[in-house]
Symmetry: C2
């Protein structure tokens, strides 16, 4: 590739990213269904028609925002997997990683929380699809824990969903906490930790009941 064409390519990538960033910023105070192409291009300082060099339409921009935001969530799972504390202290670790990521990427998390029930069907479906992938990935992670590898896929997913429900609620609560009340964050996370512990204890207990029942039902 020649230098001018490489520079052009780089500039295109930068404008693409600027459009994504501007959209996420604008979506802090409005919903996607009311966001116009013109507002996004104005925020970046390009003419409206230049938008189409980057996205086919607003729907495609929406899909990109979903992909970008879930990239952040997946990064969160990867961070957890690499952490050596995982084996000893899974609950505290999960809670810490959750808070750190939500604090670092509030716009992405808020976008997912807010647009999960968007009247824009393509956006809603993209988020629902990504959330399902996220649950599946978490279920796979869970299956690597001792004692959990014998669980059925269906049951692992059910537990992963329960954990994701708690995470979603925690993220949503974190996002609306006033920044000047750190003690509320501590309180919230202590509650989330208890809830994770209860899910863990309940899962073990529930599974034990089923294992006991196996000889009878077999």
């Amino acid at each position: 590739m020649s230098d001018p064409s490489r520079a052009r390519q780089l500039r295109k990538q930068q404008t693409h990213q600027s459009l994504v960033d501007a959209a996420l910023r604008l979506l802090e105070t409005q919903s996607f269904s009311s966001l116009s192409l013109r507002e996004v291009t104005r925020a970046v300082g390009i003419v409206p028609t230049a938008f189409y060099r980057h996205f086919q339409d607003m729907d495609e921009l929406g899909q990109t925002l979903v992909a970008e935001s879930f990239g952040t969530l997946r990064q969160m799972l990867r961070t957890a997997r690499r952490d050596p504390r995982l084996a000893t202290d899974v609950v505290d670790l999960s809670a810490d990683i959750l808070v750190t990521h939500v604090r670092a990427h509030p716009r992405e998390f808020m976008f997912i929380a807010r647009e999960r029930f968007s009247p824009v069907a393509s956006l809603r479906q993209a988020i629902s699809w990504e959330l399902r992938l996220f649950v599946n990935e978490l279920a796979l992670d869970l299956s690597r824990f001792p004692g959990l590898h014998r669980w059925s896929t269906e049951d692992l997913q059910m537990i992963a969903e329960l954990m994701v429900d708690v995470m979603v609620a925690a993220v949503e609560a974190l996002l609306v906490l006033p920044a000047d009340r750190p003690e509320l964050e501590t309180e919230l996370m202590s509650k989330v930790r208890k809830q994770f512990v209860i899910i863990g204890l309940g899962s073990a207990q529930w599974r034990a009941t089923r294992d006991d029942a196996l000889p009878t039902s077999a």
Copy 2:
């Protein structure tokens, strides 16, 4: 009150309710932040200025929609309390009542799910406040169960929130299920029942651990 004035009062109430219904209907396909006063009055067939006989502004209409929608949720708890099956089969009963109410009032449930993170601050706060009241009411109900009356208020609320997280997720999943796939609803509710059971088992187990620890910490 004279008859003409009573008739006027009645007509006013009817128009008030028509505005609320029209708004909930319009909000099936758009978000509250993009809903205009003019659209609502046009749907009811009154002039825009007549809106102010019923609501001070759109914010007040939003508050009314929140109150109305949470009335439905509270009705759900009352139905559960009256049911004689409660003592024997709390999990199945809760799941049944949840599905019945979501199916009977999809607009109200969808409104809450979608607007929980509305960019309209007054609406977001009203929903967050009502959800907290709902959790408190559920915690009070839980405290009447044998074995749970000795729990601290904080812990009862933590469990109630965990149950509400599962309910919220179930409602959200129910609302987007295709109407022509009843087997998906059955699958979903079987999963929700398992999750309630796990929360119940986990709570009992967790509490037992703490009760055991009491003499040492006292």
